[in-house]
């Protein structure tokens, strides 16, 4: 059996978070009624002309700098000519020979190792509209709200050698875009779309195999599944003496398979040429430096800093730095209370749980509230379990932790006599366990504490409970 190398290159289309479209003043908002965010320009009416949105260039330079690309000082927009109903002008305005950014890279982590993935180019272009088909009638409709929404196309080098690396690259790139606040990274809504070029070759061979292009993978999971499927499909073909065809294939989620869309011979001649409606765009050094000066701390740098500054494990830092807002939240907490690991624990569990439903900016538990809660635990005023309940209430109603505790009688039983009575009862009703403990099975301590918590509905101060049980049993 031959062993194969896998070669994967990725093309990502990222929709930019500009207020308006790339060549007209229409809104880029997602989900509005069809064709409400349109004008003569993005409808491709006769006689209209494009005017470039400067924000798009700013965003492109931002990503270029963050991915270590060189920024092209002379930018040319080109027309990519093809017919499709969602393409109102019969051509897409994009960049061809002179992309905005070139020769960058992104470092990814797989299996605890760092790998550098090359970025060939990043260029600006406009999105097309959306065809909507009513199979029953049958009728087709076109929504041009998306027509002219700005995109960055990010093309990687074929540097990825397995599916995990491809997914890691996509996640890293997505995080970068979100960090830079230039794309919301939403794969379901199509603001972060990915196509893959994939081929196999006998292990160590110099020459690349024939590649296929995969489209329509709208989640990381689908990317993983589609690439895995395609690798097996290509290996099977080659092993049975057949050849891989150069073609574009679509991932079919229902069939869990990639299906041929068009073969190479059917591919378009796009007849690229410089768009005469847009003059060459000259980007001077100052423009680039102004943007560089405003770049935020990037995920990679932030992760290393968190590990160093807060002594956090890699697992924690990965989670905490997944978005700028979350890491900001964490750091705001640490400025109030210098217990980074404790704060991290709370964020990774309870805060993230809440964040599944809402945005970090909407969360009702402020850093002040969270750190106060942690302080209350440290002071022994409430138990960890009680604190969870308090947290839920804070998250739901935005009440202060002290108020919740006082109002709900959730304060811990720290009265020694009360607690001692309860503990005595528990020990009396579990004579066997008491015997075992005394014979050296001290891990039963947890069992007794648990019973006490159960009896007090979690109100017992766990530290005190521990001490008292020990006192009684170890005399």
């Amino acid at each position: 059996m031959t062993i194969f190398d896998v070669v994967i290159g990725l093309e990502v289309h990222a929709q930019l978070l500009t207020e308006t479209k790339i060549f007209c003043g229409c809104s880029t908002r997602f989900g509005d009624n069809p064709n409400t965010n349109t004008c003569p320009v993005c409808l491709g009416m006769p006689g209209v002309l494009p005017v470039l949105n400067k924000k798009v260039i700013d965003f492109g330079i931002k990503l270029g700098l963050a991915t270590h690309c060189s920024i092209n000082d002379k930018n040319i927009f080109a027309r990519k000519n093809y017919f499709y109903p969602d393409l109102p002008k019969g051509y897409q305005i994009t960049q061809h020979n002179e992309p905005l950014c070139r020769n960058g890279f992104l470092d990814i982590q797989t299996d605890g190792k760092t790998k550098r993935i090359g970025i060939t180019r990043i260029h600006m272009e406009e999105d097309a509209g959306k065809n909507i088909h009513d199979e029953k009638k049958p009728l087709s409709y076109i929504d041009f709200n998306r027509s002219g929404v700005p995109l960055l196309e990010i093309v990687s080098e074929p540097d990825m050698t397995n599916t995990d690396e491809a997914v890691a690259y996509l996640k890293e790139l997505r995080q970068m875009l979100v960090y830079l606040e230039i794309c919301d990274g939403n794969m379901e809504e199509g603001s972060f779309r990915c196509d893959a070029n994939i081929s196999i070759k006998p292990k160590g061979a110099k020459q690349y195999g024939i590649r296929t292009e995969l489209k329509n993978m709208n989640s990381f999971r689908n990317v993983q599944k589609a690439l895995d499927f395609e690798i097996s499909r290509q290996i099977e073909l080659v092993e049975s003496g057949k050849e891989v065809r150069q073609e574009t294939r679509l991932w079919d989620t229902a069939k869990n398979a990639t299906l041929s869309m068009r073969i190479k011979e059917e591919s378009h001649d796009y007849r690229y040429f410089p768009d005469p409606d847009l003059l060459p765009l000259i980007i001077d050094k100052r423009w680039i430096e102004d943007i560089r000066a405003c770049l935020p701390e990037l995920p990679e740098a932030k992760r290393s800093r968190f590990i160093k500054q807060y002594q956090l494990p890699a697992y924690d830092t990965d989670l905490l730095t997944q978005s700028r807002e979350l890491s900001d939240y964490f750091e705001r907490c640490t400025t109030i209370l210098d217990k980074p690991k404790e704060i991290s624990n709370w964020i990774m569990t309870d805060v993230l749980k809440v964040l599944k439903a809402e945005n970090i900016n909407q969360i009702k538990v402020t850093p002040q509230m969270l750190t106060r809660l942690i302080t209350l635990i440290e002071e022994g005023a409430i138990s960890r379990n009680m604190a969870r309940e308090v947290f839920d209430e804070m998250a739901e109603y935005g009440k202060l932790p002290d108020d919740i505790i006082n109002a709900g009688g959730l304060s811990q039983i720290s009265d020694q006599d009360d607690l001692r009575r309860t503990i005595d009862q528990i020990l009396e009703s579990h004579p066997k366990e008491v015997d075992s403990y005394k014979q050296g099975k001290t891990q039963l301590l947890g069992f007794f504490v648990g019973q006490v918590m159960k009896a007090t509905k979690g109100k017992a101060n766990p530290k005190l409970t521990n001490t008292i049980i020990r006192e009684i049993l170890e005399i």
Binding site: L43, P46, G90
Partner: protein, 473 residues
């Protein structure tokens, strides 16, 4: 136009009366100069202008009836580009130049005939049939702005807008004995001009005299943020007086008198140049070496851009669609096969070929290089002269269908007008004589970029000393 503005103020004639009379005259017109006449709209604008003039407003464009080439978008008024494929198209917006004219109180009287999508020099390929030359109805008025030129010459408007991609304002102006200006590329916004070849297209004024052309140019020129190729050039205020031509260096390129230039045109042109010399100009013998490659480069660049610009006429969103086709590609094919005429199809095919993979470097890229060479030629030419003079066209107006089956010969007639488009320079055609058939001959003047003032004022001086522009068909 200046005369009309004067009448409004010093004679008892109101825009309302004049426009009404004009509408009646247009109804009698047999030239087929107009595709659409906006009777209601122009009467409304005329009444408005009448009121404004009564109130003492002195804006010169108030109530002036202007005809607009039918490839310039007018909100609510059909804009067909002379094509079947847009025969039912009504724009939802006004072109920048229309907004400007309306805001000045001008009356947009109607939309004039043209070669389909401005591709031609005869005004015979429009879906509404040919426009006739007012000087001789069996002849072409030239094109593609033939409707605008004929309307001006026949007195069916006071002035008109045309568009000039390779000579489409100057050549019909020459054929119809009137004055037409192709302004510097970027001086008039193209927003709303249905694109033929975006890097060459320019809207410009057509009228009976250089003074009227100057007034209309003032009304439409200027920076427009909606057109990225528009230039924020600070023009000096326009002057409606001629200039002293004494000492003006006028270059006469040798290659402008190449083979193909008719003897009669050369005769009238030489006499026109002599007039300038008599008025004090210094004639400079010079040449534009790369002019011979102009036509070839032009037809590659123009058609390449056109093939892309005309892709939007696909039957999907507006215009005529062939119904009941079996597939998407059939819909495209049949809509475009039915909607476009032969000349347009020919150019789309030529342009598509020139941009195809493997041919781009050979054609489009090479043509772009020739363009740069020509730009440099003119740059050095303007080192030794202030203006360049030559013929507008090698021949006078020919029979309507003389060259229908000979597109190449027609293309070659653009030899003198094309350089100004390839270089972006301003150029004007003014009447300078008549041939033996009493058909007008035009003289072309070319100036450095943004020196329309020089072109226009030299033309004014020429017209102050000649009567060719005053002769009516």
């Amino acid at each position: 136009m200046l005369e009309t503005a004067r009448m409004y103020r010093h004679e008892a004639k109101s825009p309302k009366d004049l426009v009404q009379a004009l509408l009646a005259k247009i109804k009698q017109d047999t030239l087929n100069a107009y595709i659409t006449v906006d009777e209601a709209g122009s009467m409304e604008a005329a009444c408005q202008a009448t009121k404004s003039i009564e109130q003492g407003h002195d804006e010169i464009m108030l109530g002036i009836p202007i005809a607009v080439k039918d490839n310039i978008c007018t909100r609510g008024i059909p804009t067909s580009c002379g094509s079947k494929i847009l025969s039912n198209f009504i724009p939802m917006y006004d072109a920048h130049v229309i907004e400007r004219l309306k805001s000045l109180g001008a009356v947009i009287i109607g939309k004039t005939n043209l070669d389909e999508f401005a591709m031609g020099s005869t005004t015979t390929t429009s879906h509404v049939g040919p426009t006739l030359n007012p000087w001789d109805h069996s002849r072409t008025p030239g094109g593609s702005s033939g409707g605008s030129a004929a309307a001006v010459a026949a007195g069916l408007c006071a002035g008109a807008l045309g568009s000039d991609t390779g000579g489409s304002i100057r050549q019909p102006a020459s054929f119809c004995g009137i004055t037409g200006l192709k302004p510097t590329y970027g001086s008039v916004s193209r927003y709303g001009l249905v694109a033929f070849a975006s890097s060459l297209d320019q809207i410009g004024p057509i009228a009976c005299s250089a003074r009227d052309v100057s007034v209309l140019f003032d009304a439409i020129k200027g920076y427009d943020p909606k057109d990225s190729t528009s230039v924020a050039h600070e023009y000096t205020p326009s002057v409606l007086d001629g200039i002293d031509i004494k000492g003006l260096r006028i270059g006469v390129p040798r290659s402008f008198f190449s083979q193909g230039l008719s003897e009669q045109v050369e005769r009238e042109l030489r006499s026109g140049i002599s007039t300038l010399e008599e008025l004090g100009a210094t004639i400079v013998d010079m040449d534009i070496p790369h002019i011979k490659y102009g036509v070839a480069s032009y037809y590659i660049i123009a058609n390449a851009e056109a093939s892309s610009n005309l892709a939007r006429y696909d039957g999907v969103r507006y215009g005529a669609r062939k119904m009941d086709t079996q597939s998407l590609s059939d819909m495209y094919l049949e809509t475009r096969a039915k909607g476009f005429g032969n000349e347009v199809k020919r150019r789309i095919m030529l342009g598509t070929y020139a941009l195809s993979a493997g041919y781009y470097d050979q054609y489009y890229k090479k043509a772009s290089k020739v363009r740069t060479l020509l730009i440099n030629d003119f740059k050095s030419a303007f080192g030794i002269c202030d203006l360049i003079a030559g013929p507008t066209t090698p021949v006078t107006a020919f029979g309507l269908y003389d060259m229908v089956d000979d597109p190449l010969s027609i293309y070659l007639l653009d030899i003198y007008t094309i350089p100004a488009n390839l270089t972006g320079l301003p150029a004007i055609s003014i009447p300078c004589g008549f041939d033996d058939d009493n058909l007008p001959v035009g003289m072309q003047l070319i100036a450095p970029a943004f020196r329309e003032d020089l072109l226009l004022r030299t033309s004014m001086t020429f017209q102050d000393n000649t009567n060719f522009h005053k002769v009516k068909p």
